[in-house]
């Protein structure tokens, strides 16, 4: 896999089918629908539970706005990921082009996915720092690899954005 800046886009080239599949899972992983813990993390309370009025107003007025913001980001990512479905050969490496205008959406969606996965599997800080664990052991290990791969991508996008300003 090779990532580089190409005009007004970031290009991920020679993306192998395994990493391409992990990227295809970003929009789905960013959804917290089946995990109350993930929902709670993505839409965290604005104050302590004793502040009942503020917390209930937040759910009515702010959470829908945040939900729209997060869904808009994942939808942008989903559209970019359609590039990965157009390969002629089933196991061929492919290229993903992320327009610079979409990088904020990617950062947001990757963040949603990482937080939702991490809270669902209850990864410890120690596990999240273990970058050398094989993804092949279990679904949990694969999810940890997924979190770290998304983090790597975020780091690269941020570095490119900083270089851009």
């Amino acid at each position: 896999m090779e990532i580089c800046r190409q005009d007004q886009a970031l290009e991920i080239r020679e993306l192998d089918p395994f990493l391409a599949e992990l990227l295809r899972q970003v929009p789905e992983s960013a959804q917290a629908k089946d995990s109350p813990a993930a929902e709670e993390r993505l839409f965290s309370a604005p104050a302590a539970p004793e502040e009942k009025d503020l917390c209930s107003e937040w759910k009515v007025y702010v959470v829908p706005e945040l939900r729209r913001l997060f869904q808009s980001a994942t939808e942008t990512v989903r559209q970019d990921l359609e590039q990965l479905q157009c390969t002629g050969k089933p196991f061929a490496n492919c290229t993903l082009r992320i327009p610079l205008a979409h990088t904020d959406a990617w950062l947001n969606a990757l963040n949603q996915a990482r937080l939702a996965i991490a809270v669902t599997y209850q990864f410890s800080d120690h596990e999240l720092c273990d970058h050398y664990r094989s993804p092949l052991g279990s679904r949990r290990d694969l999810s940890l690899f997924q979190v770290n791969f998304y983090g790597f991508l975020q780091e690269f996008i941020l570095r490119e954005m900083e270089g851009n300003t």
């Binding site: 309370a45 604005p46 702010v62």
Partner: protein, 40 residues
Amino acid sequence: MLEVHNNGRSILWSGVRERAELYVQQLHGYLLLATIEKTV
């Protein structure tokens, strides 16, 4: 940043509640944990 790293939390801003709510909403938009607390 270092205070958050060391202590797990930090006071980012003090002031009127309405503006604090706006700031917290913006931080939540970046998926950062932020809460409002009354000044003692």
